[in-house]
């Protein structure tokens, strides 16, 4: 019998979590580790490993094929482009303290697409070989260039079999024409709500009148579009975060059931104002308190509530795949299925890359809409796109579920080759995977209730938590 290599990590109760290349996992003891590592597996050990798909007899037997299928199913295959972020303007009618995306004042000149750039964007879209496209309009405030949004949407509807649109708007000034634009079924709204309206006012809107306008507009958006077509992202200051219970209730009162809890982003102009080294530990504690509160809330709620990223992590563990989040995939090919076009027509592999370039830290542009992609630069960026051979990741039990984010590494450290365990990406995800497995192996029925909702399964099952004693 051939046992697929097992990686292991300590759990918080003295046992060990074992995982294989394909993401199979189980908990066992230090004694099992000794037997496994020294080649002294018992018959019981061998039967367990065989029954659970951690071993095979010969190449091409069903166990081998099943394992290979599960392993390959977790890979982020190189796909045609199907997602594009367009920034028709950098101008914005708000001036938030930590503006995540670089912005300029509403009346500034020279920060919008011109007609030539718009034409080049449409030619770029025309050249995509895909039948489906998702277009995200960002800014600045994209509704300031409604005419550009109309042109792009009209073109995509006629050129692609399926086209979806997301307008990332602060919902501050929404004209009748903008509401008409937003009302179409294929057009979704993504806005910001910083936890509670009080915090939102403090961080973004600054006065009661502006906050009132935003509150009216988000309620109108949800009422007219339906809750499934509106998302609200909070940006949380870990040093003065709102109480989790209040935050959850604020979103629930609006009818929203999902929240992507994000701390203020290290990239962009935010880095000039905040002491990020000091906030990670606050954030980690806050995040755990938030999840605990969420589990309590779900125990009695009619409609379960999720934290988007923890749900994403759990689904990557249990189901594999789920490669739609560009910060967590393996391999993480840049400039392949996803592109960003800035206000000046410059192309970027991610929105974070755009911010890093914008603040002058490092030029991570990969071409422009007029001359196309800079393939040699892309080759460099993609030369180490996976976590398979990283000397830390190859020993990590969470490797099958994790990924690489070189843009984040470049942003924080100016290089991609520092020991993985020292990176923010690794530390953050180790903490999240620890939490995810802690929840999976929890005996608390309230946790089981939330897990079933987050994993979209009828109910929690002990099959989710194999143990070998």
């Amino acid at each position: 019998m051939n046992v697929w290599p097992l990686r292991f990590t300590d759990t918080n109760d003295g046992e060990l979590l074992f995982t294989d290349y394909a993401g199979g996992y189980f908990r066992s003891t230090q004694e099992f580790l000794d037997r496994y590592a020294t080649g002294e597996l018992t018959t019981s050990d061998q039967n367990f490993l065989s029954d659970r798909g951690h071993a095979f007899e010969k190449v091409s037997d069903l166990s081998f094929i099943g394992f290979a299928s599960r392993w390959s199913g977790r890979l982020n295959a190189n796909k045609d482009i199907n997602y594009i972020i367009l920034v028709p303007t950098l101008r914005c009618n708000l001036s938030c303290d930590y503006c995540q995306v670089s912005r300029v004042n509403e009346n500034a000149k020279g920060f919008d697409w011109d007609d030539k750039t718009l034409s080049a964007v449409l030619r770029l879209l025309e050249g995509f070989g895909t039948k489906e496209i998702k277009v995200e309009f960002q800014g600045g405030e994209p509704l300031l260039r409604l005419n550009m949004l109309r042109e792009v949407r009209s073109f995509c509807r006629s050129h692609f079999e399926t086209a979806q649109f997301v307008v990332c708007t602060n919902l501050q000034t929404v004209s009748k024409y903008a509401w008409d634009f937003l009302s179409d079924e294929d057009t979704h709204i993504s806005t910001s709500l910083d936890g509670t309206f009080d915090v939102h006012q403090q961080q973004r809107t600054k006065d009661n009148t502006t906050t009132g306008t935003f509150r009216t507009n988000i309620l109108k958006a949800i009422e007219t579009k339906g809750v499934g077509n509106v998302s609200a992202l909070p940006t949380i200051d870990p040093l003065s975060a709102p109480e989790p219970k209040i935050l959850i209730q604020t979103f629930a009162d609006l009818g929203l059931h999902s929240i992507f809890l994000r701390p203020i982003n290290y990239q962009g102009f935010a880095r000039k104002r905040y002491q990020f080294d000091q906030v990670n530990q606050f954030w980690s504690g806050y995040y755990r308190r938030f999840i605990d509160e969420l589990i309590e809330y779900n125990a009695t709620a009619d409609e379960p509530f999720e934290e988007y990223y923890l749900t994403h992590i759990l689904r990557r563990i249990i189901q594999g795949g789920h490669n739609n989040h560009v910060d967590l995939r393996n391999p993480n090919w840049l400039g392949q299925d996803y592109l960003v076009v800035d206000f000046n027509g410059v192309l970027y592999p991610t929105d974070e890359a755009r911010m890093i370039t914008r603040i002058g830290q490092l030029d991570l542009s990969i071409g422009n809409v007029h001359s196309g992609l800079d393939l040699s630069k892309l080759d460099v960026l993609n030369s180490d796109a996976s976590n398979f051979f990283d000397p830390d990741c190859m020993n990590c039990a969470y490797q099958p579920y994790c990924g690489v984010d070189h843009i984040d590494d470049l942003s924080r450290y100016g290089r991609v080759d520092i020991p993985r365990h020292l990176t923010d990406h690794c530390q953050k995800h180790m903490s999240l995977f620890d939490l995810a497995f802690e929840l999976l192996y929890s005996g608390d029925p309230k946790v089981h209730n939330s897990l079933a909702a987050w994993l979209n399964i009828p109910g929690y099952s002990p099959h989710l938590t194999p143990v070998h004693l």
């Binding site: 697929w4 290349y21 580790l33 590592a37 190449v59 081998f64 392993w71 190859m394 020993n395 020991p419």
Partner: protein, 80 residues
Amino acid sequence: MTFEVSASLIQYASETIRRLEYLYPEAVFSCAEDKVIVTGLSEGKRTELTRNIRYGLYRAKINDESKSLQDLLFREMFKR
């Protein structure tokens, strides 16, 4: 501090030390016969270090012995 290593694992001591050196940059590691010797760390770290040396040896052995399986998986999946 001195840590004894069993004969079946001593061949993985060098690789284990390479990894421990950047996990504990303040320490100096060396290997002599059937021992890993560590200086520059307080005695209070002994339990943690014992565990990490054991885990390091196991991981190095598992990686070494599973290279052929990893090669096999990649070869079978990507052959055309």
